[in-house]
């Protein structure tokens, strides 16, 4: 009896000890060797700032989008709007007052809770700082805090694309007590900043308390490879998990690499050849049409860009509502004979009487632009127009563009908000940027009308009409719409590409 009781006790004790010890040891072991899931992202862009009130470039936006949340987001993989910090929103009849209902219980990295006051503060702060994107807030007359979780934007004029605008990074909420947001950002987003070494890398760590739940990786290292060739090498060697900014010429070879997955989507960025309508010979519609017919678009798309872009026939890219596929029938196609004829009709038979025209570009961020320009130079030479390419740095380029000091230019347009309004108004109306000096009162009127309507179908009809009028005037030579490409390693899952340059590391998983 005694003996057996002792055995029983011993067995019981042993079982208890083992039962406690084994999980302890196991957890201890796993804790002492935490498998950190690190996602390494390679990009060619170097962020300029991490302050959402100052950021107006893709590189900064990529980082800011993962540290902060905006009021409105996108449905996965589309440019359709979806709730983010705002659960829902509504407007009055004529789209001039917008009310946003905030998600409750959203916390900043420092523990502050998100409230309507903070949204108001963030907008006021951005307005006060007058950073590069601050003009986007000009439409806002005042912000009203309705209650703790409801905020109302009163606009200066009816503006139906407003929710699309609220997806821009400047609508990120920042905590009022933060200082030095440029270098030490504090957001509500899925990642926190660990370190940022200019020109080298940005390191983000997971925000375990994120309101959508913790991200799937512990750390994101965004490594900057200013040279696209080295970015490609790094991808092929497996040094990086995700590559952003692979050059068009590398895409074909990489798409055949069995170890690498390619994600691509039609973008919303458009590239065109602009002309200065204020000057001869560009004030002549026939001359502009001649240029439109002189360019070998297929060569540019297939040889230079290697199928990494689709043709742009009119003012709007195909991926946006309001685009009318009819334009593919009435738009301009390569026809050098017709171009020569139009050139003669314009008063310059075989280019006689023309001075040497200057084409300004900035190829620092888009290397293929140099090649496209060289093709255009040759195409125009063949019909008798001599041009000289001048490759400028981006700031001098903008300087000359906005001082209207150019004959021709090539540039791309990156929408601030995904609505046809953001192509038509800034680029083609006299109350827009007015780069080219294009002036058509019908376009002015229709574009104004379109931004005041709330009914989607009515708006679409107006944009179709606008498209036709603009193409007929040939203010530009419409070139192409680059596709977006991201290359990822086989073991990386969950990455979703958006037509707008929204790079979300939150759902990305590493197997």
């Amino acid at each position: 009896m005694m003996f057996s009781r002792r055995i029983v006790i011993a067995v019981v004790v042993a079982v208890i000890v083992i039962a406690i010890a084994v999980p302890l040891v196991i957890t201890k072991l796993t804790i002492s060797q935490p498998v950190q899931k690190v996602l390494v992202v390679g990009t060619t862009y170097d962020p300029k700032t991490l302050d959402p009130a100052q950021a107006y470039d893709i590189a900064s936006a990529i980082v800011i989008q993962n540290i902060y949340d905006t009021l409105v987001g996108y449905k996965p993989g589309t440019s359709e709007l979806a709730p983010k910090l705002a659960e829902r929103w509504e407007s009055n009849e004529n789209a001039s007052v917008w009310t946003f209902y905030l998600r409750k219980g959203v916390k900043f990295h420092d523990g502050t809770e998100l409230t309507a006051d903070i949204v108001n503060y963030s907008i006021e702060r951005a307005k006060k700082l007058q950073g590069p994107p601050a003009f986007l807030l000009d439409v806002i007359d005042k912000v009203e805090v309705v209650d703790k979780y409801t905020v109302r934007f009163v606009l200066k004029h009816p503006f139906s694309p407003f929710p699309a605008l609220a997806a821009f990074t400047i609508f990120s909420s920042v905590p009022p007590n933060a200082t030095n947001l440029d270098e030490k950002p504090i957001g509500t987003g899925p990642f926190k900043l660990e370190s940022w070494k200019k020109g080298e890398q940005v390191v983000l760590v997971a925000n375990k308390d994120y309101w959508r739940g913790p991200p799937k990786v512990d750390k994101v290292i965004i490594r900057i490879y200013p040279d696209p060739t080295t970015l490609r090498v790094a991808l092929e060697k497996g040094e990086i998990d995700i590559a952003l900014g692979i050059q068009p010429q590398d895409i074909e070879a990489l798409s055949k690499n069995p170890n690498i997955k390619m994600v691509s989507i039609d973008g919303v960025v458009i590239e065109w050849l602009g002309m200065n309508h204020r000057r001869a010979p560009f004030n002549n519609t026939l001359f502009r049409k001649a240029i439109n017919y002189a360019i070998d678009y297929d060569y540019i798309l297939n040889i230079v860009l290697r199928g990494t872009a689709t043709r742009l026939y009119g003012p709007l890219p195909p991926a946006i509502f309001g685009y009318d596929p009819e334009v593919e029938k009435y738009g301009y196609r390569y026809n050098p004979e017709l171009a020569k004829k139009l050139l003669a009709e314009a008063g310059y038979p075989e280019g006689r009487g023309l001075r040497e025209l200057e084409l300004i570009i900035s190829s620092a961020e888009r290397a293929e632009r140099k090649d496209v320009a060289a093709v255009i130079q040759r195409n125009l030479k063949e019909i008798g127009i001599n041009i000289r390419i001048v490759d400028l740095d981006w700031s001098s380029f903008l300087d000359r563009l906005f001082n209207h000091d150019f004959d021709m230019y090539m540039v791309d347009w990156f929408p601030d908000y995904v609505d046809p309004d953001d192509w038509i108004v800034p680029l083609f109306t006299t109350y827009g940027l007015g780069i080219d000096g294009y002036n058509n009162t019908v376009v002015d009127e229709l574009a104004l009308k379109a931004r005041q309507l709330t009914e989607l179908n009515e708006r679409i009809a107006l944009y179709k009409q606008l498209q036709k009028i603009i193409v007929e005037d040939a203010p530009w030579a419409f070139l192409y719409v680059p596709k977006l490409y991201v290359f990822i390693q086989k073991n990386v899952e969950g990455f979703i590409l958006y037509p707008v340059y929204y790079i979300d590391f939150y759902p990305v998983e590493k197997k």
Binding site: D46, T49, Q130, D182, G199, I221, Y225, D393, S395
Partner: protein
């Protein structure tokens, strides 16, 4: 004699200070001949009125050129090179971050070129007027004539494509290395991370070779000629006649005398190299000063361009001065 040395050093230092002052004047002039409002050139086209006002006030741009120059010089003396509004940091900080990478690359390349150049030079001299000498001399001229553009591309192809080694940047970003010295080869060792060290080592080789090969060609020629010159001198002949084994003659007498001019030229070249080679750093994405200047050029970040030119020139002047003084200590003959 001692007074001569002191005089020489004093003269040399005065000259260096004068040169540095001159460089500051040149850089100042360059910054003021920019077209248009210098404040806008500094800030870029997105300049806000407040920033323009701030920059105008900070640099006294509304005052006379003379006053502007005084402000400029007093800020430089305080170590303030201004702010890069394009890159969003102070120029001093940007340069300080990039300088170690350039120095590391140059020191490595320099050692590499010494290892290649000097032994081959001695060999060439010992076998002078033979086929070996001819081949080595030819290689030397070719090496010296190699533009870094071509050499860099060839090494990029060879190491990156043929050997499949990483050829960009200093280290794989996944190695988290605590920075102690800023020199990645040292830091990886101090971290005890051998794999990281090997990675960094394999990445420094191609850019370092690109810098080292032309320099090795130069050193080969130099070593050959000065060893030859000394070999022809009387005391070596005497030693030979005394039938000392050739190797001892070689190393004891010849090398000691021949190394002098090599050190000077090498020092001079080092001063050039230390300023960072823009082409090489661009080809291999080496995050050094040269790369910074390239970035600044493509963004037309004038503050960074000016600051870098200033810093680089000052380093260049200082190194040159030090080399001159050292050389004078080593070789009393040049004190004229």
């Amino acid at each position: 004699m001692a007074r001569n040395i002191a005089q020489y050093i004093f003269y040399r230092l005065i000259q260096a200070v004068f040169s540095i002052f001159g460089v500051i004047v040149v850089v100042f002039l360059l910054s003021r001949v920019l077209p248009g409002n210098p404040a806008i050139a500094i800030l870029g086209p997105k300049a806000t009125p407040e920033n323009i006002e701030k920059v105008t006030r900070e640099w006294g741009l509304d005052k006379s050129y003379f006053e502007q120059f005084l402000i400029y010089i007093s800020r430089i003396l305080q170590g303030d090179l201004g702010d890069s509004y394009v890159m969003g940091y102070s120029v001093g900080r940007l340069i300080a971050e990039r300088l170690p990478a350039s120095i590391e690359l140059v020191v490595f390349a320099f050692v590499l070129s010494l290892i290649i150049g000097i032994p081959l030079g001695i060999l060439s001299a010992r076998k002078h007027d033979t086929k070996t000498d001819l081949i080595l001399s030819t290689l030397a001229v070719m090496g010296f004539s190699f533009p870094s553009l071509l050499l860099g591309i060839l090494l990029l192809i060879f190491f990156g494509i043929n050997l499949g080694l990483p050829v960009s940047g200093r280290i794989d970003p996944r190695y988290s290395i605590n920075v102690y010295t800023g020199f990645i080869l040292l830091d990886t060792l101090l971290n005890g991370n051998i794999n990281a060290f090997l990675d960094a080592f394999s990445r420094i080789i191609p850019p370092a070779l690109t810098l080292a090969i032309p320099l090795a060609g130069l050193l080969l020629r130099l070593t050959r000629n000065s060893v030859l010159e000394v070999m022809m001198q009387d005391f070596v002949r005497t030693a030979k006649m005394k039938k000392l084994p050739e190797n001892i003659v070689m190393y004891k007498h010849i090398l000691r005398n021949a190394l002098l001019p090599i050190i000077t030229i090498a020092g001079l070249y080092f001063a050039v190299l230390v300023t960072g080679d823009i082409v090489v750093e661009t080809i291999f994405a080496w995050p050094g000063l040269g790369r910074l200047i390239w970035e600044a050029v493509s963004l037309r970040d004038y503050m960074v361009i000016q600051g870098s030119v200033l810093v680089v020139s000052i380093i260049y002047i200082v190194v040159n001065t030090v080399v001159d003084i050292l050389y004078m200590y080593i070789d009393p003959r040049i004190r004229g």
